[in-house]
């Protein structure tokens, strides 16, 4: 492998005439209806290898149900045929049975809709030099959806609790035993994960029962009428139902609930059933984002938009003003939506929700539970962990709201938020709730203990964890699992080795290096910070070596030394900026399928750039995006 070859790619292009011809010949016995898809494989002349393996399997299925084509070098153009369907590919090159190039190493999803006959397909393979990254605008092309999907978004446990509190004033924790949400990219509100299994339904029922019995005990706070009869119940259904469902009930819906009321033994019992019914109904449990048909797309209704806004900015149901605007049908108007977004953003409730975004995005909640060696780090107790956790949420919120700061500020700020205890961890200067960093080697988010301690081991830093964190959370890259053909025999662990030496085998073994050059290159550069986020003075008795490398989108190498320098790189990285837009959009839209949100992210990113790269722009732009307001038919 030539050391300079950092980008290697291979084109698989359907060879037009000959392929059809050959396809026709092969399928001779099958009849004309079963035309296969053809792709052809060309060799990479410049690379050294002796065999390649192309695996093709139906998308979403096991690799093992597909076909494996083993192709030795020197055969020229090879054609392979597979069923014309959505197909995933993996391409690997071997030299002396050693994996030297792999499509898995590029971190891209190689899935294509194959049509009968020749298909133009491009598969990238990456080598140990760091490979190439998916181009930023790869996915927003003529095949990408312009608008979001029509969906039902299940309330998360947190949203459920806040909704109940906002609706009834009940602050009792009713979601303690809701099944824990599955998180994707750190976010607990991803629509595809929001499934109601029996355990969820049981928890919903239990919560509904707690809420209803609490309400019945002080019914006069919720029911105004003196005469407790069916018409009183009808009024309750209309008014409380509208709040609970974040929109008015139609006649049929009201009638069904009245029937439920009438099944009760008496007024209280009937009303208790009504409350439980309202809380078990899909209009309570899900936020509807279905829209109404407007020609070629669906447009979110004012009610749907009211909810989208309030849950995005506040994590709770719409307030009176949003409800009133929705009543008046005003929330299909872009200017009104933008004005409301600004109003919600400026409210204190937005800050708390931004904190939740921050800890989800960065995964910093883990700092509260992560194990640390108590002998090495006696000061890192639960109180300091909590401060470190709060710090990051408060800092992000401060930068993007109060300071209306830029993306770069997140990584270059010379201050953070915390008290003396945190300040001494950082060797900073505490002043009135703020900490000023003394050393230029600590800047912005990457200097936070919440991040540095979460992505570390019990007793020492861990470059892999930090590298994966930066790649996935800050650069939005996909870090793939090791390729199936990888046979690893790591060398014995030497307890006297420095952290860097321990992981050196990753880059000396070419199979490992395909991915680990990218991961460890970043993590190594953060070796100046220890397992709890202090400056590391030495490593295994030797000076700390914090030279790192982060690969740019074209595979270019950016050398840096130390965590603060990595922050400087990220502060001006277009990839990191675009990733910020993507993370906000994932959170706001509950969508984690990169291809489906590609156009939304592109639009968000360009609004962000033209808006002076203020982070607030990203949040404020989301609700007005066509991709968000409109849904695919």
């Amino acid at each position: 492998m030539s050391a300079t070859s950092t980008i290697t790619w291979l084109l698989l292009i359907g060879s037009v005439g000959a392929a059809s011809c050959q396809t026709a010949k092969r399928k001779g016995g099958r009849g004309a209806g079963s035309k296969l898809a053809t792709v052809s494989v060309k060799e990479i002349g410049t690379e050294e290898y002796d065999r390649m393996e192309l695996r093709a399997w139906p998308a979403g299925e096991s690799k093992d149900v597909g076909s494996l084509f083993q192709i030795t070098r020197g055969q020229g153009v090879i054609e392979v045929q597979v069923q014309p369907q959505r197909t995933s590919f993996q391409l690997e090159y071997f030299k002396n049975d050693q994996l030297v190039l792999s499509s898995t190493g590029c971190g891209e999803d190689h899935t294509f809709d194959l049509k009968p006959g020749p298909n133009p397909v491009t598969i990238y393979v990456c080598d140990a030099g760091g490979g190439r990254f998916p181009p930023l605008d790869l996915s927003c092309d003529q095949n990408s959806p312009l608008y979001g999907p029509r969906i039902l978004r299940l309330l998360t446990a947190r949203e459920y609790q806040r909704t109940i509190t906002s609706l009834t004033g009940i602050t009792t924790d009713v979601v303690s035993d809701f099944p824990k949400e599955l998180r994707s990219h750190g976010f607990d509100n991803q629509e595809a994960n929001g499934l109601v299994t029996d355990a969820h339904a049981e928890a919903h029922y239990r919560a509904a029962k707690i809420v209803s019995s609490t309400m019945i005990k002080k019914l006069s706070s919720y029911v105004a009428c003196a005469q407790r009869d069916a018409s009183c119940a009808g009024e309750f259904i209309r008014s409380f139902g509208k709040k609970a469902w974040r929109g008015p009930l139609n006649q049929e819906e009201s009638a069904k609930l009245l029937t439920l009321f009438q099944s009760g033994a008496n007024f209280d019992d009937g009303l208790e059933r009504v409350i439980q019914g309202l809380l078990m109904a899909p209009r309570f449990l899900y936020r509807f984002e279905l829209g109404a048909l407007k020609g070629s797309y669906y447009e979110l209704s004012s009610w749907e938009m009211a909810q989208a806004l309030s849950y995005m900015f506040w994590g709770m149901p719409p307030d009176d003003q949003l409800m009133a605007l929705a009543d008046a049908g005003k929330l299909t108007d872009k200017a009104t939506i933008a004005a409301e977004a600004k109003r919600l953003w400026k409210d204190a409730k937005a800050k708390e929700n931004l904190g939740y975004f921050t800890s989800s995005w960065l995964g910093t909640e883990s700092v509260l539970g992560v194990n640390k060696d108590a002998v090495l780090f006696p000061a890192f107790d639960s109180s300091l962990r909590r401060k470190a956790y709060d710090e990051t949420n408060d800092f992000f919120t401060d930068v993007v709201t109060d300071k209306n700061g830029s993306f770069a500020d997140l990584f270059q700020s010379e201050y953070t938020i915390g008290d003396g205890a945190l300040s001494s961890l950082y060797d900073g200067v505490p002043t009135g709730g703020f900490i000023r960093y003394r050393s230029p080697e600590r800047r912005g988010l990457l200097g936070h203990a919440s991040i540095l301690a979460t992505y570390a081991g019990n007793d020492n830093s861990e470059p892999i964890k930090r590298g994966v964190f930066v790649l996935e959370r800050l650069l939005c890259q996909v870090v793939p699992p090791p390729p199936p053909s990888l046979k690893i025999t790591p060398p014995p662990r030497d307890p006297n080795a420095s952290v860097r030496e321990r992981f050196a085998s990753h880059s000396t073994n070419p199979s490992c290096a395909i991915c680990h050059t990218r991961i460890d290159g970043i993590g190594f550069g953060m070796e100046d910070m220890d397992a709890i986020g202090r400056f590391k003075q030495s490593d295994a008795g030797r000076p700390v070596d914090a030279r790192g490398i982060v690969f740019g989108p074209g595979g270019e190498k950016n050398m840096f030394e130390g965590t603060a320098a990595l922050g400087r790189f990220l502060a001006t990285s277009a990839q990191a900026e675009s990733c910020m837009s993507k993370q906000v959009y994932r959170f706001a839209a509950g969508q984690d399928n990169d291809k489906k949100i590609a156009c939304a992210v592109r639009d968000l990113d360009s609004a962000f750039v033209s808006g002076g790269k203020r982070v607030s722009t990203i949040f404020l732009q989301v609700p007005t995006l066509d991709a968000f307001r409109r849904r695919q038919p």
């Binding site: 979403g60 299925e61 096991s62 093992d64 029509r150 969906i151 039902l152 009792t172 924790d173 303690s176 035993d177 099944p179 824990k180 599955l182 994707s184 499934l195 109601v196 299994t197 029996d198 355990a199 969820h200 339904a201 049981e202 029922y205 239990r206 509904a208 029962k209 069904k256 609930l257 439920l260 099944s263 208790e272 059933r273 439980q276 019914g277 078990m280 109904a281 899909p282 279905l290 909640e365 509260l368 539970g369 194990n371 081991g457 019990n458 007793d459 861990e462 699992p481 090791p482 390729p483 199936p484 990888l486 046979k487 690893i488 025999t489 790591p490 060398p491 014995p492 662990r493 307890p495």
Partner: protein, 434 residues
């Protein structure tokens, strides 16, 4: 025996803290009926070290499995089982109970057997975890429902205990389920109506929701029939508040990992013995486990988190190899405790273990090498007679799917494959008693 003596026994039970002997007496009743087969799946994280797990040339158990020495006649150790799979911990997690790598077709054996055997039980299957939901993500899920949805695993022992045994200060579940059926009917009607209105939109999501409500209705109809255990439990010093607003939750804290594990095992044994459920899943932590095994009752390993140690660096007897082996040995000690408890429960003419099939498994072969070879699983119990026990088998590169087929067939379901049909047809002949 009739209901009067049962009540008498229950009164007596109120004065004791020992739940297991009580059940043993109660369940004598079942001697008159054929004992239905039970199944229990135990998951432990991050693979193993084959050389220190499987019997050596003389058939002796090496250090990791040594805790199972007293149970040799109840267990099978099978070397040479492989996952036909590519990937790492995550791929293995999705595979170890499903036998397929296909996202669209995952239906794990615990829920498959629960759905097959559990129609007349209060709980078709019971999924308990010990930190199974702590610091994890969807890619590490092992248990999947028939719809492919990820099954929830209960990590809170207090909740699990109250749910199953109707005990304590929280809501009584029988009451919750049995009364006000009208509300469930109403909710089901709303979901059905929405499903009809939406046509092709969100069909899968609503189907899962509908199935969940039907299951709740089924349980409500089941009421308390199919098994009642009123019992006390030794909480082993655990104190769990009813409200858990903080992170990590009290039962997720590393310090109580061992205690929670013991309590969960006790609950599981009781639930299987009392006939609340025919199928159990006990999930210890999860793939890429963040647990540090320095908690009370643990092996006092604090050099690293479990997964960190699993990358012991190739020297199986090195510093880290020894640490990792001590961790995995601890998991085998827990398994030995669990199997011993099961053996101590009499179900008519057999003990619970003999009436059951048990699989303890993990998501990867050698975590250090990220391979899927020599999956370090333990098969235990006789499934009422259809499974052989007490063997040490050496198979050659045999697809693990054959083991899953063996287990469902031992439970009386004669499907030739389980999971991905391309990955193996038929059982492992050596395990089957017919």
């Amino acid at each position: 025996m009739g209901s009067i003596s049962r009540r008498g026994l229950l009164r007596y039970a109120g004065m004791t803290c020992l739940a297991i002997p009580l059940m043993r007496t109660l369940l004598e009743e079942e001697a008159y009926a054929a004992t239905p087969v039970r199944a229990l799946f135990v998951y432990y994280p991050d693979g193993n070290i084959a050389q220190r797990f499987f019997p050596d040339g003389n058939g002796a158990l090496p250090d990791i499995t040594a805790p199972l020495n007293g149970l040799r006649s109840d267990i099978n150790l099978i070397r040479g089982l492989v996952y036909r799979l590519g990937g790492s911990h995550e791929a293995g997690a999705g595979f170890c109970l499903t036998g397929t790598a296909s996202d669209n077709q995952r239906y794990s054996i615990d829920n498959f057997l629960g759905d097959s055997l559990g129609g007349n039980y209060r709980q078709k299957s019971l999924s308990l975890g010990v930190g199974a939901n702590f610091e994890t993500d969807p890619s590490k899920q092992i248990s999947f429902l028939s719809s492919g949805a990820r099954a929830a695993i209960q990590d809170n022992p207090k909740r699990a205990f109250y749910d199953l045994f109707n005990a304590g200060g929280l809501e009584d579940r029988n009451d919750l389920m049995a009364e006000k059926r009208s509300v469930l009917d109403y909710a089901r009607g709303e979901i059905q109506g929405l499903r009809y209105r939406l046509g092709t939109i969100e069909q899968a999501k609503l189907a899962v929701h509908l199935e969940a409500l039907r299951e709740l209705e089924r349980r409500a109809a089941q009421g308390s029939s199919g098994g009642v255990c009123k019992s006390s439990l030794d909480w082993r010093g655990l104190s769990i508040p009813d409200q858990e607003p903080n992170y990590p939750k009290s039962f997720e804290r590393n310090e109580v990992f061992g205690q929670v594990g013991r309590v969960m095992m006790d609950i599981m044994v009781q639930a299987l013995a009392c006939g609340i459920t025919p199928v159990g899943l006990l999930q210890w932590s999860h793939a890429v486990s963040p647990t540090t095994l320095n908690f009370a009752g643990g092996p006092n390993i604090s050099r690293g988190r479990h997964h960190d140690l699993s990358h012991y660096g190739g020297d199986i007897n090195g510093l880290y190899g020894n640490d990792f082996a001590a961790c995995q040995r601890w998991y085998m000690e827990q398994l030995a405790y669990l199997l011993t408890q099961m053996k101590g429960v009499s179900l008519g003419d057999k003990n619970l273990l003999d009436a059951s099939l048990v699989l303890a498994t993990t998501e990867i072969g050698d975590s250090n090498a990220h391979d899927f070879n020599d999956i370090a699983c333990v098969v235990a119990g006789k499934a009422g007679g259809s499974l052989k026990a007490g063997q040490s088998l050496q198979l050659q590169n045999k697809s693990y799917n054959h083991l899953l087929v063996s287990l469902i067939q031992a439970a009386g379901i004669n499907n030739p494959t389980f999971g991905d049909p391309n990955l193996g047809t038929g059982p492992i002949a050596e395990l089957m008693n017919r």
